[in-house]
Symmetry: C2
Subunit: 423 residues, 2 copies
C-alpha cells in the first residue's frame, strides 16, 4: 500500500520512460520480496516476468543501497543461482508516534517490519494541554531516532497519529473533540521541537493508520482474499479506517471513517461533539466503564496503562461478574447496530476490531456478527468476517511507521548507495 | 477509471517489459486524449513526458486501429507538427442495458462518449416476470447492436444494470428485493437470448454504474478536484454507488453502497426486505408518492414514462401545491439523515443526487445540505458538495456503456488494425 493514494492526480496518467522503468522495476523487486518473502534471483524473475539479467542488476543495486542482502542462511555462496535474497533491515527505519486521549506511544519498524523500539506511557493530554503533550511526544520520538542511529540505521520518516480530523497535506489537526483541540498546526509544532529533523514529519488520523496496520496484519498472508477492510477502533472515542480496493481511502478531504458520531442512539446521551446519540456515547470506552464500574473503580484510573485496565475487565468478565458482562452485552448490541451500517455501505471482506474492542473481542464479536447477519441486506452479511486485531493499542503507531517506510518501497533510489558497502 | 479495480490482484506488482511498455504507452496516449481533448503530437509529448518520435509512432498505431484520427478541422495538413489528433468514434461502441422496477433502457456510446442510441420503455418487470423481461431487454439490445453495425461500428461489450445485489464475476443477480427475484443467472440468460454474441456481456449494480457515469459527469472537467464521489439514486428502491480514490469501489464481494436498507427510521414502516425502518421506506419513490398523491392519481401509473410522471410532480411543486411540497420536505429531511451517515463514513468531494432525487433536486438539495452541515462531524460538512446529476434515469446505462468501452482504453491492442485503413 502506498501513500500516493492520498495525493491528487494531475489527470495525466504517468507514462513510462527508461529511467522511470528502472525505478519502477527496483520498486517491483523490493516490494515483491517484502510481500512474498526471501527468494532467489531466478524465482524473482519467474514471479515478476522480468528477465534474469535484469533481476540480477536490480538486486545488485538494491544491495548497494542497503535495502536487500544475501539471505543469512547461505552466506559464502554469494551469487550462486539458488542463493536467496531478503530485505536488509539495518539501513532504514520508519517511526510512528501517537498522541491519544489517555496515552502517548512510539514504534519504530525496520524495513523488514521488525519492531525496533516500542513504548507507550499513560498521558492525560486533554488536561496537560498541547504544549506539554508535544514536548513529551518529541522526547519519545528523539529517543527512538537516537536508538535507530545507534544501530547504524537511518530514520526516513515520522508519522504522527492523532484521534481527530486531520488535514494531512497542511499538517493540521483540524478537530479532536475528545481532546477539546481545534486547528492545531501539529506538524510545525513537532518539527520545531525535533530541531530540524533530516526525516519527513507528517500527520494522519489514528484510525486511518491503524487500518493500514490491520491491512498488513490480515491481508499479508493472502492479499487476494482481503482487499477491502474496515477497522473499528475503540478508545475513549471510536474511530474508523477504510481500506478499499487495497488502498487506504481517506475521502475527498481526509475525513473518511468518522463513525464515532453516527446517529445510532437517537434517545441516547449528549456527546462531546455537542450532538445527541452519537455511536461513541454508547460504545466508547467511557460508556463501557460507566456501565461496568463505579466512579472510584481503579479500572478508571487514567494514570494506569490502558492494557492493564482492560486486563482487569477481562478478568472480571472471565470470572462471570454480572455487571461487567451486562455492560459488555450492551456495548456489543450497540456495536452491531453501527457495524451493520458500515458493512452495508462498504461491504468489507473483514471488519477488524481494534483498540479496546479487540481486547474485549471474546464478548463483543458474537453480537456484532449477529447484527451483521440480521441487518446487512447482502446475503450472508455480504461475506464480511469479524476479526480481532492482535495489535492492541499499537495499531496506529505501527501503521504510522509503515507509512513512513512506504516512500522507500515506492522509490528505492531515494536511499543513497553506500560507500564501500558490501553484502 | 478501469474495470481492473474489480479484479483481484495476485499480490505481485506487475513489472514492465518492453512489450507491455508499448501497450501501456498506447493506453496512456489514448486515455490522455479522452481526458484532455484533441491535441497535437508535440503537445501530447509535452503533457506525458514521452519523446516526440515515440508519440508519433503511438499515434500512427492508434490511427491504424481506428481509435484516433486527425482532427476534422485541419484535414489536408496531415502530419504537420501542429495538426491535432482526436478520438475516432466510428470504430467501436459500448452498450449499457438496464432492467429496473418500472422500465427497461439501453444506451450505446461511441469511443468519444457520444450517445449513438438511447431508448427507455415503461416495463413492469416484477409482474411480467424474468423471462418476459429478458426477452424484451434482449430485443432492445439487438436493435442497438444492429444500429451500431449499420454505421460501420463494432460493439465491444454490453453491460447489464440491475437494481439489486450482483455477483459480477459469476454473472449472477443475487437478490433484487423490489423485483422479488433471487439468484438469477442473468448473464447466461441474456447471452442465450443474444445468440452467441461476439461482444462481452457482464452485469453490475445499477447504482455502481450510475456512479461511474456521475464520475464522468462531475470529474471530467477537473479530475484533481473530484476523486471521491457518492451517488444516491432514487427510484422505487434507493441505491448508492461509491467512487473513492478515483476508482469505483464495489466492496469485497460486490455489495457496497447498499444504502437503501440503512436503519434510519426505527419507528418507520415495513420494508420489502422484511426489515422495519429502512431508508428507502421513507425516501423511495413509493414513499414520496404515498405522501404526495391519492392511490388513483395518474402520476402513479407505471405504464407512463417515469420522467413524465416526475415532470407532473415538478409542475405541482412549482405551482405551490401544499401536499406535494410537504411530501418533498419530508423526503428531504429523511434524505439528510441518511445522507449525513454516508458523508461521515466516506467524506466524498461530491454527493450526487440521481434518479428521481436529481429530478426533484430543487426541493431536496437544501434539507440535505442542512443535514450534512449539522450532522457531519468534519468542519463544513467535510467539504462535501451536493450536486444534481443531469443524467436523469440514463446514468446506469451510460455507466454501463462506459465500462464496456474501458477494455479498449486499458488495452487498445485488442482492437485489430484495419486493412487498408486511412485517416
Amino acid at each position: 500500500m502506498s501513500l500516493s493514494d492520498g495525493q491528487r492526480s494531475t489527470g495525466v496518467v504517468a507514462p513510462a520512460d527508461h529511467v522511470s522503468l528502472r525505478r519502477h522495476n527496483l520498486a517491483v523487486v523490493l516490494r515483491h520480496i517484502r510481500d512474498a518473502g526471501p527468494r532467489s534471483r531466478a524465482r524473482i524473475a519467474a514471479d515478476t516476468g522480468l528477465n534474469k539479467a535484469t533481476v540480477s542488476s536490480l538486486v545488485a543495486e538494491l544491495v548497494d543501497r542497503g535495502l536487500l542482502r544475501e539471505a543469512e542462511s547461505e552466506r559464502g555462496a554469494v551469487g550462486r543461482p539458488g542463493q536467496l535474497v531478503e530485505l536488509d533491515g539495518r539501513r532504514v527505519c520508519g517511526v510512528g508516534a501517537e498522541l491519544n486521549v489517555e496515552y502517548l506511544a512510539v514504534t519504530a519498524l525496520d524495513l523488514t517490519g521488525e519492531v525496533i523500539i516500542e513504548s507507550r506511557i499513560p498521558f492525560d493530554a486533554a488536561h496537560l494541554g498541547a504544549d506539554a503533550t508535544f514536548d513529551r511526544l518529541a522526547g519519545l520520538i528523539e529517543q527512538a531516532v537516537a536508538a535507530i542511529g545507534l544501530r547504524g540505521g537511518q530514520t526516513v520518516g515520522v508519522t504522527l497519529a492523532v484521534p481527530g480530523l486531520v488535514q494531512s497535506a497542511a499538517g493540521i489537526l483540524a478537530l479532536a473533540p475528545n481532546l477539546g483541540w481545534e486547528s492545531v498546526d501539529i506538524v510545525r509544532a513537532m518539527t520545531e521541537r525535533l530541531q530540524e529533523p533530516t526525516y519527513h514529519v507528517s500527520v494522519d488520523n489514528e484510525a486511518n493508520l491503524g487500518a493500514l496496520a490491520a491491512y498488513a496484519e490480515f491481508a499479508a498472508a493472502d492479499p487476494a482474499a482481503v482487499r477491502d477492510l474496515v477497522l473499528l477502533t475503540g478508545a475513549v472515542g471510536v474511530g474508523g479506517g477504510v481500506v478499499a480496493g487495497g488502498q487506504l481511502q481517506r475521502g475527498g478531504h481526509g475525513f473518511s471513517g468518522e463513525v464515532g458520531h453516527l446517529p445510532v442512539a437517537p434517545a441516547g446521551g449528549r456527546c462531546g461533539c455537542g450532538r445527541t446519540g452519537c455511536w461513541e456515547t454508547v460504545v466508547g470506552l467511557t460508556a463501557l466503564l460507566d456501565k461496568a464500574t463505579d466512579p472510584d473503580d481503579p479500572v478508571r484510573d487514567v494514570s494506569l496503562d490502558v492494557e492493564q485496565r482492560l486486563a482487569e475487565i477481562t478478568r472480571r468478565a472471565e470470572a462471570g461478574d454480572e455487571r461487567t458482562l451486562a455492560a459488555l452485552a450492551d456495548v456489543g448490541t450497540w456495536l452491531g447496530l453501527g457495524g451493520a451500517i458500515v458493512v452495508n455501505i462498504l461491504n468489507p471482506d473483514v471488519l477488524v476490531l481494534g483498540g479496546y474492542f479487540g481486547a474485549l473481542g471474546p464478548w463483543l464479536t458474537a453480537p456484532l456478527e449477529e447484527a451483521i447477519r440480521d441487518r446487512v441486506i447482502a446475503p450472508d452479511g455480504g461475506g464480511c468476517r469479524v476479526v480481532c486485531s492482535g495489535l492492541g493499542f499499537t495499531a496506529a503507531v505501527r501503521g504510522g511507521a509503515q507509512i513512513s517506510l512506504d516512500s522507500v518501497f515506492d522509490d528505492p533510489t531515494q536511499v543513497p548507495t553506500q560507500v564501500g558497502a558490501s553484502a
